[in-house]
Symmetry: C2
Subunit: 463 residues, 2 copies
């Protein structure tokens, strides 16, 4: 990943919490309180947003706790509850909305020490929340399986972080997002109470931790459904126009007989920022990036060959020293551009499934060179549609909000990635009712990642 923007060192600041006493409570648990390290790890990739980059620049935890196991997590949760100290869970910190940034200081709970696959049965793995998704897939593949979906940050991201802050990714063109029934089978959480409980959330109930930024309990393990580990082939196809790439991608996404993991059209304006991949992106051509099961390559090529030309084809790789093809898709597309030009930012869109092509075409026509398209075909509620993280040439917050409003007016849902709260960032501008109610059970004092579920009010407190 690219380096973080440089910042001037800031003066030390006294904490409003009794951190010294907390340290005594947590004797034996590895803690980090070096200011520079704490500040650095209190950040995530929110700097993709110029707005969040200003808002969150000074936010930091007071101390980092790095538990080795769930028992240590329980001790930390108990101590924080007793001393009324906020607790923000953090793993790889690959999020883009400040999910893991502590807004009110306190403890940063680094769960990357909780690793490994606890149990596996046909089609199911129970995985420690801090396990790195790439490590999990490497282990699973020996049994013929892999995770159904992963973010483009798979080489750093953890399973727990993906569930807490993700939503979907590579694989969602087949399985939909994490919100679809069956895509999170169960979650184990630790509550933040003076006597923490360990709760198993199964099926529908597991959705209470999905994309809640760690506000609804500390996730320690997840039971996730698996997919067959097909031999995936990375393919790039070049097209004369973006809509040719888009419409062909849509046809591939709709082809239920073609086994696929990724279908991503990308505008010809974006590919010049693609570093090593440029060799396979002819100038002026828009491309379609796909991951296709080897056995489906024949029918796949029959479809893409009608309008496009294959420029790259090789088995998918994600081992050391390689840059996986999926690291040019989803929000990695934005990162590829940001490597050489910090003036842009992005949106998060969900297009209507019942007028998908028209809707994509309208949006492209409406914003011209201000908004540069790449889409992600996904399933959503059982229907094929597209999400998108288009690159926006940024000018002002007012213009950004106008662009968002214009999308929404034309029927494109926006999950605003330039706000910190779950409510503002959701498609419906409110907290999930189940999650909000559940929080009062598992975090009655509102200590978990405070400010993210902004509409939560601890019992007995007026807002």
């Amino acid at each position: 990943m690219s380096a973080l923007p440089e910042r001037q060192p800031r003066p030390e600041r006294a904490s409003r919490y009794d951190i010294a006493a907390l340290k005594e409570d947590l004797a034996g648990i590895a803690l980090i309180d070096e200011t520079q390290i704490v500040r650095k790890r209190s950040r995530d990739f929110f700097w993709y947003s110029p707005i969040l980059n200003q808002q969150l620049a000074d936010k930091s935890a007071d101390i980092i706790a790095t538990p080795r196991d769930e028992a240590e997590v329980v001790r930390i949760a108990a101590a924080c509850a007793r001393r009324r100290i906020p607790l923000t869970v953090r793993a790889a910190g690959t999020g883009n909305y400040g999910q893991a940034v502590p807004l009110e200081g306190g403890v940063l709970l680094d769960i990357t020490g909780l690793t490994g696959i606890e149990r596996q049965e046909p089609g199911i793995a129970r995985i420690a929340a801090g396990a790195r998704m790439l490590d999990v897939d490497i282990a699973l593949r020996e049994t013929g399986f892999e995770q159904r979906m992963h973010p483009s940050t798979k080489r750093s991201a953890t399973v727990g972080g993906f569930v807490a802050g993700g939503s979907g990714g590579v694989g969602s063109v087949t399985y939909g997002g994490l919100r679809e029934p069956g895509n999170i089978l169960a979650a184990r959480i630790v509550t933040v109470e003076e006597e923490p409980r360990i709760i198993e959330l199964r099926d529908d109930a597991a959705q209470k931790v999905n994309r809640a930024y760690g506000t609804t309990g500390i996730i320690t393990a997840l039971e996730m459904p698996l997919a067959p580990a097909w031999p995936w082939i990375d393919v790039i196809v070049a097209f004369d126009s973006y809509m040719d790439a888009f419409e062909t991608g849509y046809e591939v996404a709709l082809a239920d007989g073609i086994v696929k993991k990724l279908v991503t059209p990308i505008s010809s304006v974006i590919t010049p920022y693609f570093g090593a991949l440029k060799a396979h992106c002819p100038e002026g051509k828009s491309i379609l990036i796909c991951m296709i099961a080897e056995g489906s390559l024949g029918p796949f090529k029959a479809i893409v060959g009608k309008r496009g030309a294959v420029t790259y084809e090789a088995p998918s790789e994600e081992g050391p020293g390689t840059v996986p093809l999926y690291e040019y898709t989803w929000n990695h597309t934005t990162l590829q551009w940001l490597k050489s030009d910090r003036s842009i930012t992005y949106l998060q869109c969900l297009f209507p499934h019942d007028r998908l092509v028209e809707s994509a075409r309208e949006t492209i026509a409406a914003f011209g060179d201000e908004l540069l398209p790449h889409h992600e075909f996904i399933r959503f509620g059982g229907k094929v549609t597209a999400s998108a993280l288009p690159i926006l040439r940024y000018s002002t917050p007012e213009r950004l909000n106008a662009v968002i409003a214009q999308h929404e007016a034309s029927g494109v849902f926006i999950a605003n990635p330039h706000v910190v709260s779950l409510e503002e960032g959701s498609r419906h501008k409110r907290a999930d009712a189940d999650q909000l109610g559940f929080k009062s059970e598992v975090d009655p004092q509102g200590l978990l990642n405070p400010g993210k579920m902004a509409s939560f009010v601890p019992a007995g407190q007026a807002k």
Copy 2:
């Protein structure tokens, strides 16, 4: 399968072809010319239709040829071409439209001697056309794979017969039908010419034999895509109303995170005809029959439990001495009823995906007790929808046609199963243009299953 209706023996009839000379040509190839056997094997399950049962009662081949390998198929094709003798390919004869019934006598080519899996690679198997689908799955499962879809007649049906006369079945709720790109990877055919050619049809071209009733070449092998062989669980869920079963089934079909192979709501009026299964079908309750991967049972039950009650749950079985649960679905539902009541028949419907629930409800309301509903959720063109083979209380051909017309007027496609030609039986009432053109290349004299592709006219002949 149930016994065929009894028929009186008919007098022998001289053939219009030089069968004696043909026998000499085919010396060394196993032939059968005992009239009773030839007549019996010239039939299929067309008797589900009272109309076809009249039309096809007297149709028979003159002789059966049972080749052991493709080389013998080539000899038979050459001899028929030379002597202008019709040639109708037949396998298990499980079709319902007289697909395998020779309308103009001649040779019945029994391809069930061509068996075995020729080759397997990840996700792909090349299978001899006469291989029984159950045998193929038994062999494949040792490698962790299975066929993506099969008809409810899987225990008798062959791969070649399924492709030539099928369209989809158990598994199509996930993969769509055989028409979807990627669901038939390649087909090898023998042409019917004096010097037959062997042609490999790949990808799009393989569609030239899909549901062509063997009119576009003699299929000898098929390259078929495979699916992971999940541990399937058969489940029956009971509901107070048919629409509860239907809407719940639709929700399951749309749930991309739930791995499934069969989702079939069946009316409470039908289940009393379900023999041994009745014990799990509470009186007055409509049911939902499903095959669900073991790992997806949790989220599946979370959905069906909202309105239904599970009455049966056990691992899928299809070995000797068992009646697989899928033998109560698709057109086996009709057969279950016919076992005790021959007065009914059925339709073949495809419902519109964009108003599926309304459309199902309208049809049920329009016909009341005359048309008894069961649906099959499938994917079609990338969208979840339902096909159906509803049971029709039969009165007259005129009424049957009126019921069909009323469906079509309300936007439900009908593939009429009471006609013999491909054209009349198709949703669009015409032959597939590619198939029609291809036939003139591979069967220029129109000897293959004559009368089925009715719009084909051999070169130089006026129709």
